[in-house]
Amino acid sequence: MIDTINTYVLPALLIIGQSLLFLVVLLVLIAYILLADRKIWAAVQMRRGPNVVGPFGLFQSFADLLKFVLKEPVVPASSDKIVFLLAPLVAVTLALATFAVVPVADGWVIADINIGILYVFAISSLEVYGVIMGGWASNSKYAFLGALRSAAQMVSYEVSIGFVIVTVLLCVGSLNLTDIVLAQGTGLGTMIGLPGSFLDWHWLPLFPMFVIFFISALAETNRPPFDLPEAESELVAGFMVEYGSTPYMMFMLGEYAAITLMCCLMTILFLGGWLPPFDFIPFTWVPGFLWFLIKVAFCFFLFAMVKAFVPRYRYDQLMQLGWKTFLPLSLAAVIITAFVVQIFGWGAAAS
């Protein structure tokens, strides 16, 4: 009996506790990321942004949460009701489920599995179902058109994201996210004799891939300039036009969770995760998860700035960029990286 408790019940409770703690921190972070998005956008346009609820508008997201939850969810009469309500659940669950393998600091991860990055890729390839189910179940042509656009866009850019991830994996030789971060302790900087610094991280040797990943991440999460699914001038609000109140909030939450995940992935794959930018005293005092947070915030700042000053792409240009530019480029990069790793023995063999 004690054996069962020690082997099953205690670890299960521990994992549940960790997950809950992670989830609460993550949701609060997402609330502030949403606020930051609006504040940065406002600052670029020389507005003030939300500034009424709480000091500097800091509680705006929580006020919005209450507003959404307290409203009546309207389900269209001719919609497919089960699928209609299932879609936002799918979107938000999948978006949050990916965080199970994200290492925030050395050893600070809920599930340290061998194939972490593949798990992230697999789950985020399912996120399109929330969109497509929501669009179809609404039984409205605007929602359906928005869903089709969004799904086609997400599927297209997933391919180049996959190849970019493969180039990183070739350099690291492991699919474990912790290993990917630790492998960035040595790199270009240490090769030429410098102490460990931000020059070792993957963004420098794989810079073109970093750029492709960033742009593909914008498209994958339906962020401007690729926000055609919700192009409000043509499609009202895209696939979520029939949604209101809590289901709508869940779609928004799923979207921002996906954006946060993409920022985390950029941090882990290219910006050295929790590693400090300089590997000596004042910087190593700062705990790892703070560096991780700072890097994620930096990535999100890039996301927000792009939203603020880049005009929207046309749909055929979007597809052209994905299939005719990024796909060949990233495919070529995979082959070149494989050759370099194999011939010069850099990356997997060096670390």
């Binding site: 194939i115 593949l118 697999a122 399912l126 497509i132 189910m133 492991s174």
Partner: protein, 207 residues
Amino acid sequence: MLGLQATFFYFFALIAVGGGLMVVFSRNPVHSVLFLILTFVAAAGLFLLTGAEFLALILVVVYVGAVAILFLFVVMMLDLDMGRMKKGALKYAPFGAIIGLALLAQLVIALSGSYLAPSTATTLATPMPIPPLDQVTNIEALGQVLYTRYILFFQIAGLILFVAMIGAIVLTLRHKEGVRRQSIPVQVARNPKTAIEIVKVESGRGL
């Protein structure tokens, strides 16, 4: 350990079988595809239980993340009338039964090989020293076999898929005359000299 594994096995197996049945019995074709996706996910769960984590996630990425989405696209876009489609369904029942039986027979033959002739099955299965899974990861073990011993089959499979893809493109490609396409280099290369024509118009004459 066994109890937990068995519980999860029955959980996923029940979902897979139930989902499979609902694929056939649900009235709405879109619901059928959604149940098919559920079945795929449950199958991925079964793979995970056997320790084939790589296969499980590849199943999710390829089948659920790509193939099933195309299914869903097609089924949503088609104007399907299930009542009309079910009318002629009985005509095709024998063919369906034959295909089902052939697949079942293949499965039985493949599985019974290890019971009827255990010696041949073991020599076929382990001609190559695969390192135990507690030393290398799933992917490493799979890659070491796939890219050495089975490289020919791997390449042939890739070639077949490639030919199928090109075939699909050739079948659907149509050259339309008179379509105005955007050429970005031409647009970028325009300058005031090539883009603007300055005409002096005498007053009272027009062009």
